[in-house]
Structure formats: structure tokens, C-alpha cells
């Protein structure tokens, strides 16, 4: 092995790598469509818009909160939310039809210091240093944003970069600091920290966070999300009626425990809180209506004037009543969506099966000739632009390292009706069409694949895939239903209810329900969310990192921290190694579950959801918010893993080379890993992809062991040797997670997606026994092969992926990159559908495709200014290329590219 060479050249000479990329021309995508002119105008504004944070909402929230010292927490929170919503400045942009946004900026968001405040002060400030010591800022250090698009990664002029992504006006920085300081000692983060230290293993938890074995605390970073919203009550009754109902309920429960001595009396306060926040939402909507009227009054252009008047009329109506038209219903659900997102720091608030929720208005408007399909298409495009403008404000580690700036508002399509028939409808065909004509990241689309779905609908989904936008993803409806029945059967879910399933966030199977909607006397069953968030629990455990610490007796050599108590075992057998791994893993889950339970308990006591609560069944019926288990389904807390395939491949290499062939001792292997097999660290090379790693000068000591590790059996090739290791791991992991209990007294469950954590956690991990080098990104997802290691074609990969029962987990994740030429034409479409079907029929839960030429991605990395609109599928979401951090860009480029399916 020659020194100073890039790894791809070295491996290629040894016949070990995938083929090298040629220099021939780039292949364009086969399908490309254009949006309506109005949509294009508004989307172009988005392309040129910076993520912007301001302090308006937190200012009014904090002011009102401070005024109500001593008030019952749920009322205090409702009043603070009402005050903040009522004072948001409305901005309506020219040519908009669908209006309102989170703040007065086009792509605005704001910090919530009542959740977490330490991060927002200057880095040299003692509060930030304190956060660093807790480990809660560790993820920030290893997370990267893309430097293009709307990310404000550096300050300029009078714009200050916050959290490496958001721009804030310089004048507001002292305000942000002042607001943050007012929450010191009483934020969810601070109170949670105070009490989590009472968990005996807290010091281990702190070390786990510092070394990035776990990516983030969920209790104060993203306490809600990756769930499905429910728009039913306002769509059925309108806001005025909900206030009337709340008043009625108050009269019925006041002073009445209702047989529940613990929380029965809380019903009165909850109904009062609902009334308060609904009034706040009405004020917010009506402020926009007033602004629309003002603009109509000063606008000279007749058409624009008329459009402002239409907006005002629409908003005036939906502020009080059930929507009458498709446009009003769409405005209503969009408004509700951002209302919930303004209530809490949330990513992955999925709109659910919107095409089925809005179908009553679509059907009746079409029948009455009130709207055309073309007009619906334009509205759906505008909806995509508005949803794409949604940003989530959180720390760098969460927004960059986990979310890649995405917010995962996943819209589900297809599936079954409550009676078990295909639920696909003509409005869903238009939603798919809008996803093609208006390529944008939000809402991302998922098809709930079921054998009963019509071919025409499925092929429409495939056509959308072929635009290269990375959506729709394909989820196995039947596997999802099986998972739900197992997890929520104890809370009363039956198969009919399970058919309401939708995806929350990237690909989190979420409990939903049916509600009967009446529109002009006609009745419809519409699906919607009915469960707690799934962004909660233990989030994300770096599997390869735990295996690394087994080999190093519990010590992290990157930070020199003794994370776990030394096991002091000789690890003389593979079984002993595996048991030690299990022991460290269980210890990790145990202390993280307990500390996160405490954080979430603080959250539900002081920062409970009211907006999301009143929307979701059965809070209004029970008179209880989310924190009192008002939702129908509460067993949603999960344990998430990352890096499964690198861990499995590493176990296979260790088993074969150390324990079976005895070619190397474990000590020799560990030494090679600690020395990165004689390569430079990824930080030095400036790339996080294996393909760019460089050999150190004059270091040849580890060449043989490295070659053997690379050649060891790899997942994704239908090789029973390594597939069996995966199966044993999955069977254990899926059961082990269920031994832990959430704060709601429910069993937890496994969640196996990586989002973007495979980048940051890869950076924190030394070389692994599968030949992956230090600091490089893990394989994405949980079922994707490590780049370049799946050599037997997609069907072999499918075989490996389905050796275990996917219904035992909330999800699994398979991402594939396919060259556009492999699926060209009608034949290609059918092949891609056959491929998808094959995976679903084998019991795979999720598959999605990047249909893009890798040369395009490489060119985009060199010349991002030419690719502002290029989108790729990352793990479970689609994101603009230029807004993704370098580690994830490298990983997407490196994925195996299939040239035939």
C-alpha cells in the first residue's frame, strides 16, 4: 500500500472497490415539470430567503408569563401563548393566496428560552460553558450546516448568525440575551438538569452526551414532533363552536372530580386553557385579515386588490366557522399547522393523510363547479411553498446534526379506508402532481403501500420518484398496521383504527384514528393523529461507538473520557464480546431513559401542549391535555439507534478475523482502530467520505489488518454469515427496548432511522472493524448497505434486509441510489414499481430512491451556486443540496449507485 494515496485508488488497485466514476457527461433527470407562474414567483423568493429568527413571540410570551406568577401552570401557559399569538405582526406578500407564517418573516422562526436558554447566549458566557459541561452542547461541536441556500452560517452587515443557521437583526441580540437570562433556572432544560442529576447513573449519562454516544436530550430540544397532527375539530366545528363547547364542559366539570381523585379536577383548568388559546388563535388570524384589508385599501393593482379582499374574507370566515370551500379548508389546516409549530420546538409535525382529510371539500367544490382541478393544483403548489418555508429553531446540534435544517412535515398518501378498501383518491393524484410541478422539500410525501392500491396511483408515485426529488418514500402499510396493533393494542386499538395509520416525521409509524366529518349534510370518515409525539425518548444511540468502547474497556480515546465503568474482561469469546456490548447498551438506555423521563416530566408540568392537545382525540372528550394522557394513544416513547450496519459489519469482521480464524488478537485489532489503520483522520482530509481518506506517510503497519477488515463479510449481499448477526441483533434490540418504561408508564419500542445523525456521530467515532475510517459518516438509515459494499444487486440487499421481522420496530430505513438511465421510459417505471413491490412483499418497511447521477452531485458540491434547487433524499427526508452539511453530502455521493434494477 503506497502512502499518501486516496483510499479509492488503493482499493481499486486491489479489486476491492466499486468502480471509479468516469468523466463522461452527466445524465439529466427524465421527468421535469414546471409550477404555475404565481407559484414560481413565490418559490423564487424562497430560494433567495435567509432563515431568520426574531424575538417577537418570545418577548410577548415571556412578558405575559412573568405577569402571572402564582397562576395554575396550564392557565399561565395558555395566557402566555394567547398573548404571543395575539401580538404577532402579520405580513402578507404580493401574489400570495395562502397566507400566514410563523413570524413576520418569509422563512421565520424564533427561540423558545422557556425550553432551553443556555445556548442563546454568547459562547464565552458562563451559561454556554455550563451547557458544554453537561454534554448538551457536544453535538453542536460536531454538526455542520451546508453553507449555501438560506443558511446564515456567518454574520454579515447588521445580521448576526445564530446557531450556525439563523440570521437575526443585530438590534435584537441584546433582547435575546435578556430574554434568555430571564429563563435561567426555570427553563425545562435547567429544571430538568436539576432533577436528572438525582438519577444514580447521571455521571455516565453526562459522559454519554459529551462523547456523542447519544445525540441529544429530547425533553427540552424537541419535546413534540414526529407525530401526526389532527385538524378534525376546527374543520368540523370551527373555532367559535369549540369555545362554546369548552364553556359548556367547564360548567359540567367545575368542582367535579368525575371519579378521578388525581387529575379529575384538572379538567376545569384544561377547558379554560383551551378557550384562552383558541381566542389567541382567532386574534392571530383576524390580525392577518385586518392586514389583508389594509393592503386591499392601499393597492392600486385591481387584481391584487381583489386577491387581498379574498384573503380577508377567507380569514374572517375561518377565524370563526367550519370552512365552506376547499381553499378555506386548506387555509385552515395550514394555519393550524403553524399554530402548533409556534407552540413548541417541533420537528416532524406531519400533516397526515391530507388528501383524505380535505377530500370532502374537494369533492363538493368539484361537483358544484366552484373550483377546477387546475385551481386546486395551484393551491396545492402554494401549500408546498408555505410548508417549505417552515423552519425549526433549535441548537446547532439538533437543527444541523440531526435535522439538516429540515422539518419533516410528511404527508401520507394511499393506505386503506376504515373499511379496508384503497383510500387513494383523485385529490391525492393532484398532491403527487403538485409534488412534481412544484419541487420543494415540504411537505415530503410518503405512500402507504398496500396491495389494494390501484396501479395508476402507484405509477403516479413512481413518476414522481423519477423527477429525482427524493419523494414519495414507500412505506409498507400492512407492516405499519401490525406494529401499531402490537404497540397500541393495550390502549384499545383494533384493526379498523390501525388502518388510519400515517407517518409522523421522516418515517415514524404513528397511531391515528378516524373521526366522522359532516359537510353540508354528507358524512365522511377522515383520518388524523391520535397519539403522543414520537420525537421523545432516547435519541439516537451510536451503535458503532458503543462497540468501540467495548474494545477500549469503556474509554473514549477521542475525548479521553472514561464513559462506562471498565468491564475489565478479556473478551476471550465472541459471545463474551457480544454480552459486554449488550451490557453497555442496556446501561446507556437505562440512564438515558430515566434522565429523559425527568426532562419530559418537567415539560408536561410547566410547558404542556395546549394547541396540539385540543386538536387531538381524545383531549377534548377527556378534559385532559397531553401531559395527563389526554391523547388516545400514549405509548409512543422510543429508543432510536444509528449506525446499525457499521456495527453489524464490524461484529462480522471481529467474529471472523479474531475469534474464528484467529488471524489477529483483539488487542492488535484495537490498536489498529486507535491508529485509524494508518490513515489520516477525516478532519484532516476535510472530507467525511471513505472515498477521500488519505494514507499517512510511512505507516504500513496496519495494511494487512486493514485489507482483511475491508474484505470481511458485509451486510447487503445475502451472505448468511453477516445476515445472521443482523437478525440476532434486531431480535435482541426490539425486545430490549420494550423493557424500558416511559414517564407515562408505557413500554418503549425501537425506532431505527438515522435522520442526519450518521454524519455527526460518525465524526465522533474512531475507525471501526468493518474498515470504516475515523470520523467518516456511518451508513445512512438502518437497512441501507454501507456505500460500495453491496455487490450482488438490489435483490440480494433486500434479502439481507428482511431476515428479521420489521413489524417489531416502529420503522426501518432503506435508501437506494439509482442512476436515471436504469429506470428510463415506461419500462423503467414498471421496473421501479416491481422493485418496490418486491421489497414490500418480502416484508421490508420502507424504501426510497435517489434517482440522480452521482456526477451531478459532485458537480453541485463544487459549484453549489448552480444548484440552488437541487434536492436529494438524505435519510428519511428530502433536503436542498446546498443546505446540507458536508458529511452528509459526502455520504450521499458515496452511496452505491445502481445502474440496473
Amino acid at each position: 500500500m503506497r502512502n499518501g494515496e486516496k483510499i479509492m485508488e488503493i482499493l481499486s488497485q486491489k479489486g476491492l472497490s466499486g468502480k471509479m466514476q468516469g468523466s463522461e457527461g452527466m445524465t439529466e433527470r427524465e421527468i421535469k415539470k414546471q409550477p404555475k407562474e404565481r407559484t414560481k414567483f413565490l418559490r423564487d423568493i424562497y430560494y433567495d430567503t435567509l432563515s431568520t429568527a426574531n424575538t417577537e413571540f418570545p418577548y410577548w410570551y415571556t412578558r405575559r408569563w412573568n405577569e402571572l406568577d402564582g397562576e395554575i401552570p396550564v392557565i399561565r401557559r395558555a395566557e402566555a401563548l394567547k398573548c404571543a399569538f395575539s401580538h404577532l405582526t402579520p405580513t402578507i406578500y404580493p401574489r400570495e393566496k395562502l397566507v400566514m407564517q410563523k413570524t413576520n418573516y418569509y422563512r421565520g422562526s424564533f427561540p423558545m428560552p422557556w425550553l432551553s436558554e443556555g445556548f442563546f447566549v454568547a459562547k464565552e458566557d458562563e451559561l454556554y460553558q455550563d451547557a458544554l459541561n453537561r454534554g448538551s452542547a457536544s453535538a453542536d461541536e460536531l454538526s455542520k450546516f451546508g453553507s449555501g441556500g438560506g443558511n446564515v452560517t456567518q454574520s454579515f452587515g447588521k445580521v448576526v448568525s445564530i446557531a450556525g443557521k439563523f440570521g437575526m437583526r443585530q438590534e435584537e441580540i441584546p433582547v435575546l440575551t435578556k430574554l434568555s437570562r430571564e429563563w435561567v433556572g426555570r427553563s425545562v432544560e435547567d429544571l430538568g438538569h436539576k432533577y436528572e442529576q438525582m438519577v444514580p447513573d447521571y455521571p455516565i449519562k453526562e459522559n454519554i452526551m459529551k462523547t456523542l454516544i447519544c445525540m441529544f436530550d429530547s425533553g427540552y430540544t424537541l419535546p413534540q414532533g414526529r407525530e401526526v397532527i389532527n385538524y378534525y375539530y376546527p374543520l368540523q366545528y370551527g373555532f367559535d363552536k369549540i369555545i362554546e363547547m369548552a364553556e359548556e364542559c367547564k360548567r359540567a366539570v367545575a368542582g367535579n372530580a368525575g371519579g378521578d381523585g388525581l387529575i379529575g379536577m384538572d379538567r376545569l383548568y384544561f377547558y379554560e386553557a383551551v378557550k384562552i388559546v383558541v381566542e389567541g388563535l382567532q386574534n392571530w388570524i383576524l390580525n392577518y385579515a385586518k392586514e389583508a384589508q389594509r393592503l386591499a385599501g392601499i393597492t392600486e393593482d385591481e387584481q391584487q386588490k381583489r386577491e387581498y379582499e379574498e384573503i380577508a374574507e377567507c380569514l374572517h370566515w375561518i377565524a370563526h366557522h367550519q370552512p365552506r370551500t376547499f381553499r378555506e379548508a386548506l387555509q385552515m389546516i395550514y394555519t393550524l399547522h403553524i399554530a402548533v409549530l409556534n407552540e413548541d420546538a417541533i420537528s416532524g409535525l406531519s400533516p397526515g393523510r391530507v388528501g383524505q382529510v380535505l377530500y370532502p371539500w374537494f369533492e363538493q367544490d368539484m361537483e358544484a363547479g366552484r373550483i377546477t382541478e387546475d385551481e386546486v393544483l395551484e393551491l396545492l403548489e402554494l401549500y408546498r411553498v408555505k410548508m417549505t418555508c417552515i423552519d425549526c429553531f433549535a441548537s446547532t446540534g439538533v437543527v444541523g446534526g440531526v435535522l439538516s435544517g429540515n422539518t419533516f412535515n410528511n404527508l401520507s398518501l394511499g393506505g386503506l379506508t376504515w373499511e379496508g378498501n384503497s383510500a387513494a383518491n383523485p385529490l391525492e393524484m393532484l398532491i403527487l402532481e403538485a409534488g412534481m410541478t412544484c419541487e420543494s422539500t415540504q411537505p415530503t410525501l410518503s405512500i402507504l403501500y398496500d396491495e389494494k392500491l390501484p396501479e395508476e396511483f402507484l405509477l403516479k408515485g413512481i413518476e414522481c420518484n423519477k423527477t429525482g426529488v427524493g419523494y414519495p418514500a414507500w412505506m409498507n402499510n400492512q407492516i405499519g398496521i401490525q406494529f401499531l396493533l402490537d404497540q397500541y393494542g393495550g390502549e384499545g386499538m383494533d384493526v379498523r383504527e390501525a388502518r388510519a395509520v400515517a407517518i409522523g416525521g421522516c418515517l415514524e409509524t404513528s397511531p391515528c384514528c378516524w373521526k366522522e366529518l359532516t359537510l353540508n349534510g354528507r358524512k365522511y370518515q377522515i383520518p388524523g393523529g391520535a397519539g403522543q409525539p414520537t420525537s421523545v425518548g432516547v435519541h439516537f444511540i451510536a451503535n458503532p461507538k458503543i462497540l468501540e468502547l467495548v474494545l477500549t474497556n469503556g474509554k473514549d480515546y477521542r475525548t479521553n473520557i472514561q464513559v462506562y465503568p471498565p468491564h475489565n474482561k478479556k473478551l476471550e469469546t465472541y459471545e463474551e464480546l457480544w454480552e459486554t456490548f449488550q451490557g453497555y447498551y442496556i446501561l446507556t438506555c437505562d440512564c438515558l431513559t430515566k434522565t429523559n423521563n425527568i426532562q419530559h416530566d418537567i415539560w408536561r408540568k410547566n410547558n404542556m401542549s395546549i394547541v396540539n392537545s385540543f386538536l387531538k382525540p381524545d383531549c377534548l372528550d377527556k378534559g385532559q391535555h397531553i401531559g395527563n394522557m389526554g391523547y388516545r394513544y400514549n405509548a409512543t416513547y422510543n429508543i432510536e439507534s444509528c449506525g446499525t450496519i457499521n456495527m453489524v459489519n464490524s461484529l462480522a469482521a471481529i467474529k471472523k478475523l479474531v475469534y474464528e480464524e484467529k488471524k489477529y488478537t483483539l488487542e492488535e485489532l484495537t490498536e489498529a482502530l486507535l491508529n485509524n489503520f494508518g490513515f489520516k483522520n477525516a478532519e484532516e482530509t476535510g472530507s467525511y467520505s471513505m472515498k477521500d481518506q488519505i494514507k499517512l506517510e510511512n505507516v504500513t503497519k496496519y495494511d494487512d489488518i486493514y485489507n482483511d477488515c475491508v474484505k470481511a463479510p458485509k451486510y447487503g449481499n445475502a451472505d448468511p454469515y453477516v445476515d445472521e448477526i443482523l437478525k440476532i441483533y434486531e431480535d435482541w434490540f426490539c425486545e430490549m427496548t420494550r423493557t424500558f418504561e416511559s414517564l407515562y408508564g408505557k413500554k418503549m419500542y425501537p425506532c431505527q432511522i438515522s435522520v442526519s445523525t450518521h454524519g455527526a456521530q460518525g465524526r465522533a467515532t474512531l475507525a471501526s472493524a468493518d474498515g470504516r475510517l475515523a470520523g467518516t459518516t456511518y451508513a445512512d438509515g438502518s437497512m441501507s448497505a454501507y456505500p460500495g459494499t453491496d455487490k450482488n444487486g438490489p435483490y440480494a440487499l433486500f434479502h439481507s434486509a428482511t431476515v428479521w421481522d420489521h413489524a417489531k420496530s416502529q420503522n426501518s430505513q432503506m435508501n437506494m441510489k439509482i442512476h436515471p438511465s436504469a429506470v428510463s421510459g415506461k419500462e423503467g417505471s414498471k421496473k421501479l414499481l416491481d422493485l418496490t413491490r418486491a421489497y414490500m412483499r418480502k416484508g421490508g418497511f420502507h424504501i426510497q430512491y435517489n434517482i440522480v447521477d452521482s456526477k451531478v452531485l459532485k458537480d453541485a458540491q463544487q459549484k453549489p451556486e448552480n444548484y440552488r434547487d437541487l434536492m436529494v433524499r438524505v435519510a428519511g427526508f428530502t433536503q436542498y443540496w446546498c443546505e446540507i452539511g458536508r458529511p452528509i453530502q459526502d455520504e450521499v455521493i458515496a452511496r452505491t449507485e445502481y445502474e440496473g434494477v
Binding site: I45, D48, T49, L50, S51, T52, N54, T55, E56, Y59, R63, N66, E67, S86, H87, L88, T89, P90, T91, I92, Y93, P94, N104, Y105, Y106, R107, G108, G150, V152, F156, G157, K158, V159, G167, M168, R169, E171, E172, P174, V175, K178, N287, E291, L295, I298, T299
Partner: protein
């Protein structure tokens, strides 16, 4: 307020897009926030333009005496939705 001391987000005809720019409703063009304002500027209600904003410090933070309970506020806070706003 001195017109030329203002910035575009002090103008009611400015629709802010992000922290650096916005759309001028008079010209229908995208303009940078921190550039000179024109004669058509119409004062945006902000705390700094309100008679109930008092005791301003170096960070432009002062006291609001216009609502039921007094509290601190900042000059750049937009007040179009504030019931206590009284233009200077």
C-alpha cells in the same frame, strides 16, 4: 423620527422577507433593509415610536407603561398589534 436615520423595516410599506431584505410595496421590488429610505416612507408602529416607551438604555431597551402592567420592552419591537401603542 429623522427619516434618513431610519431603515427600511421602519417603513409600513416594507414587507420583510428576511433579516437582510424585503419587498417594497411601493415599487414591488426586493430591497436591502439597511439602505437609504425614500420620501414615501410611512412610519411603522414600533415601541421606539410610542409615547409609552420610557427610560431607554444603550441597547434600546426601556420600559413600556402603555399596558395594564408595566414591563420592559425594546425599541425595535413592532407594535401594529399592540393595544397600548400611542404614536409619538
Amino acid at each position: 423620527m429623522e427619516k434618513m436615520n431610519g431603515k427600511h423595516d421602519d417603513c409600513r410599506n416594507f414587507a420583510p422577507v428576511d433579516a437582510a431584505k424585503g419587498i417594497c410595496r411601493k415599487t414591488n421590488t426586493m430591497i436591502f433593509t439597511d439602505t437609504d429610505v425614500c420620501d414615501a416612507m410611512e412610519m411603522m408602529p414600533k415601541c421606539k415610536n410610542c409615547s409609552n416607551f420610557q427610560g431607554v438604555d444603550k441597547d434600546n431597551i426601556g420600559t413600556c407603561v402603555g399596558l395594564k402592567k408595566h414591563g420592559w420592552t425594546y425599541g425595535e419591537l413592532i407594535a401594529v398589534t399592540c393595544e397600548g401603542y400611542r404614536q409619538v
